[in-house]
């Protein structure tokens, strides 16, 4: 490093990015409904995602009731069960988590954290939300068409997705594919915004390495999504054509219930390659924003810089890049060329190294910190536990030969729920408790929050940790009932019943959480500005919640990275990014305030 003596930085006037025409809403409609303000769009995205997510939650209860008490719920037929499974999976992965992290947190936090007034293309951003809403409505409409929604599993594997032996193989699957295509179109509009905003709309002094990890996580996830979603888009178009026009992209010669079909020559494995070329990056599209956000939660609430910031950035970028060369680890027993197994097992286990480093750095951030066990901190700790647990079982499934006995069993279900269901959702909760005061100016209720945390974390752990062991026994996934076997003990049924009860209890805790949000918006304790004493720019706005245009007449100027916590020699245990070096109160020599 060249030893540059720090020069005193001259005051550089307000930084304006000329091509962002700030749109000024004139009517109630354009302010709250067809708004082009990223913060309003964020809340619209989040609200829609949570609403459809609640449908997904109810579906999971119905599914668990059937699994836990197979004799009691005669209305749940095998067809309905598969439809619940499919819609639960698709809703949670795409319409809840992806939309919430990128459309919700991305829209709210990116402009604020980089010090911009808004996204760079506010109109496109608005259209993005409305297309997403349309996608959700198309998805919901599939519940009401003859035959119901598709029951092909969220992976939608052909040929069964479009053949009559699967529920919803008529209108259901077509609506599903159309909805996905719409989602992708809507997402692409939003995604272009997030990427260009991070690149172009950063304020003065905000270099890439001064960005909070939240922005890094969302930015990298968006890049992944922009590159991965086209694979799903193509496969959705091709499968729609196979289904509606009778082409044979994925459909080989098929004898369905004794009848020869017109299809011939296609390749079901080709679909799987396309699907997982999207599907594996999708895991990181959900995980990377969670990685970023949890890093910031840990850092703020442990009053300590994130340990190894550079390594964290490299790990995010590295994991993102590697995520495109591991997709076929979902296909070890798919019938693809078995020699691919060597390559994909190796790449998959390599990706464990940067991921493990992130875990170490999170725990090392706690080490020698000043840990405030606030709700966001509790959720962050719970995230580390569930994520490490799910990551470790990923090492089982990624290691090709260990995957053979475990694939398509409950072990897989437990693994991916732990790693990309529970872990990211815990981060979402932590983030909501953390940023709720910014968004509303009020705090969430502590007592309800504590209840919500302990029930959700311990309950989810009790659901998914024992579930792995059902997989070892050999209980297959997506089974309406286990039925008679000569190898599954009776006690497995009791475990299933226990898991169902735990799932219902955890579900109830979410109702408390939503009640807490709804009441706290109006009645919560008024929060201070910047109640967590955080350094990043979103807390440095003049009004809370931040007004239209985010900042005052002048955009903030950034003088340091986002992790100046407990810096030796300063009086406060944090220094916001935009505080001029002259204004920092030193311990030894008072260098004067304003």
């Amino acid at each position: 490093m060249v030893d540059v003596t720090p020069e005193k930085v001259e005051y550089v006037g307000p930084a304006e990015v000329p091509e962002v025409d700030l749109y000024h809403a004139k009517t109630w409609w354009t302010k709250y409904v067809f708004s082009q303000d990223a913060k309003v769009i964020a809340i619209q995205y989040s609200g829609t995602a949570v609403a459809i997510g609640l449908v997904g939650l109810v579906l999971s209860w119905l599914m668990r009731l059937q699994l836990g008490f197979p004799e009691f719920f005669s209305f749940i037929s095998p067809d309905l069960y598969l439809q619940f499974v499919t819609m639960h999976g698709m809703i949670m992965v795409i319409y809840l988590l992806t939309a919430l992290f990128l459309g919700g947190f991305g829209n709210y936090l990116i402009p604020l954290m980089v010090g911009a007034r808004d996204m760079v293309f506010p109109f496109v951003n608005m259209v993005s939300y409305w297309v997403y809403l349309l996608a959700v409505l198309v998805l919901v409409s599939s519940f009401f068409v003859p035959g119901g929604p598709t029951g092909a599993g969220w992976t939608l594997y052909p040929p069964q997705a479009i053949l009559s032996g699967t529920p919803g193989s008529g209108a259901g699957i077509v609506l599903m594919l159309v909805s996905l295509a719409l989602f992708i179109i809507g997402f692409t509009m939003g995604g272009l915004n997030y990427v260009v905003t991070v690149l172009q709309a950063r304020t003065r002094g905000m270099t890439l390495m001064r960005l909070p990890l939240t922005v890094w996580g969302i930015f990298t996830a968006t890049v992944l999504a922009l590159l991965a979603f086209p694979a799903l888009f193509v496969s959705a178009i091709m499968m729609t054509l196979d289904s509606v026009l009778g082409t044979s992209f994925f459909m080989p010669a098929i004898v369905e219930f004794g009848e020869q079909l017109q299809y011939g020559g296609g390749s079901p494995v080709l679909f799987q390659h396309l699907f997982w070329f999207f599907g594996h990056p999708e895991v990181y599209i959900v995980a990377l924003p969670a990685f970023g956000i949890v890093s910031d939660l840990l850092s703020v609430h442990a009053r300590r810089n994130i340990f190894g910031y550079r390594m964290m950035v490299w790990a995010i970028v590295g994991i993102g890049a590697l995520s495109f060369v591991v997709w076929a680890h979902h296909m070890y027993v798919s019938g693809m060329n078995p020699y691919f197994g060597f390559f994909f097992a190796t790449t998959t286990l390599i990706i464990a190294v940067p991921t493990a480093l992130k875990v170490y750095n999170w725990t090392l951030t706690l080490w020698r910190g000043d840990i405030h066990l606030t709700l966001p901190m509790l959720f962050a700790i719970a995230f580390i536990i569930t994520f490490v647990n799910g990551g470790i079982t990923g090492l089982f499934l990624g290691n090709v030969v260990v995957d053979v006995p475990l694939s398509d069993t409950m072990f897989v279900v437990a693994h991916f729920h732990m790693v990309m269901g529970v872990a990211p959702i815990l981060v979402v909760f932590g983030a909501v408790y953390h940023w709720f005061p910014l968004m509303t100016g009020r705090m969430l209720n502590q007592a309800m929050g504590q209840f919500h945390f302990w029930v959700t974390f311990l309950g989810a752990y009790l659901i998914y940790f024992p579930m792995h062991y059902l997989g070892f026994v050999g209980v297959p996934r997506r089974y309406w009932e286990i039925g008679e076997t000569n190898f599954i003990p009776e006690s497995a049924e009791s475990l299933n019943a226990f898991i169902t009860v735990a799932a219902l209890v955890v579900g109830f805790a979410q109702v408390v959480f939503i009640y807490n949000i709804l009441t706290s918006i109006f009645k919560g304790k008024i929060s201070e500005r910047n109640p967590w004493k955080a350094t990043s720019l979103e807390w440095q706005t003049t009004t809370v919640p931040p007004g239209h245009g985010n900042f005052d007449d002048e955009l903030p100027v950034v003088y340091r990275w986002a992790y100046s916590y407990s810096v030796p020699g300063t009086v406060d245990d944090y220094t916001p990014q935009n505080v001029h070096p002259d204004d920092v109160v030193k311990i030894a020599a008072e260098q004067g305030g304003d």
Binding site: E19, F121, Q200, A201, G205, M209, A231, G265, L270, R310
Partner: protein, 205 residues
């Protein structure tokens, strides 16, 4: 590369702070819309590449028959090329501030693009009339699908084109619409290259 140098810097060091404080915001001097369009075209490139990868995988299976190439395909690609040339002429005129020529270039380019789309439709009808029917022939199904995907992108471009033409008619001068014209032309060239590569691909398979 700058990116890698930047992400290996240590933002907490005093020496790095001095460097970082001179950062003027943003990353590129290009306008944001240009960057946005380029990233979007990157996404479109991935979309078409993956389809071609799927095509080449499907090609290895037993029932594959090569795509026929009607003469109309050759004609269409010439029309699309001419359309791109007209758009480029429009850009040059915009840079020189000749509003009337911008308008002529845009209108000719748009008309030729519409002619190309009509030609593509005609090509599909011609092939159907000749007895090739898409569902039974995977190569043809791919040809139809890729043509449709390309056509839809061109239609999307025509929306932006329409807005620009309206602005010219609404009295905007060359320098005011220059950016829009440049972006349209860039998009046109991109779609020309995509279709040209697809055409070569259809020819060699």
């Amino acid at each position: 590369m700058d990116f890698f140098r930047e992400i290996s810097s240590k933002p907490w060091l005093e020496s790095q702070v001095a460097i970082d404080d001179t950062h003027q915001g943003g990353a590129y001097t290009l306008p944001s819309v240009t960057i946005g369009l380029r990233i979007f075209l990157g996404v479109v490139t991935v979309l078409f590449s993956l389809t071609v990868v799927a095509y080449s995988d499907r090609m290895t299976l037993a029932d594959w028959r090569p795509v026929p190439e009607p003469t109309l395909m050759w004609l269409n690609i010439v029309v699309l090329f001419a359309s791109s040339v007209a758009m480029q002429w429009s850009v040059i005129s915009a840079r020189r501030g000749r509003t009337a020529n911008v308008e002529i270039g845009m209108l000719v380019g748009g008309a030729l693009a519409l002619a190309f789309l009509a030609g593509q439709l005609l090509m599909v009808r011609q092939m159907n009339a000749l007895g090739y029917f898409a569902p039974t022939n995977p190569a043809l199904a791919f040809l139809y699908m890729l043509s449709a995907m390309h056509g839809v992108h061109l239609l999307g471009g025509l929306v932006a084109w329409g807005r620009t033409v309206m602005r010219i008619w609404g009295g905007h001068e060359a320098h005011q619409v220059r950016m829009s014209v440049e972006l349209c032309a860039f998009y046109w060239h991109f779609l020309l290259v995509v279709w040209f590569l697809l055409f070569v691909w259809f020819s060699i398979t």
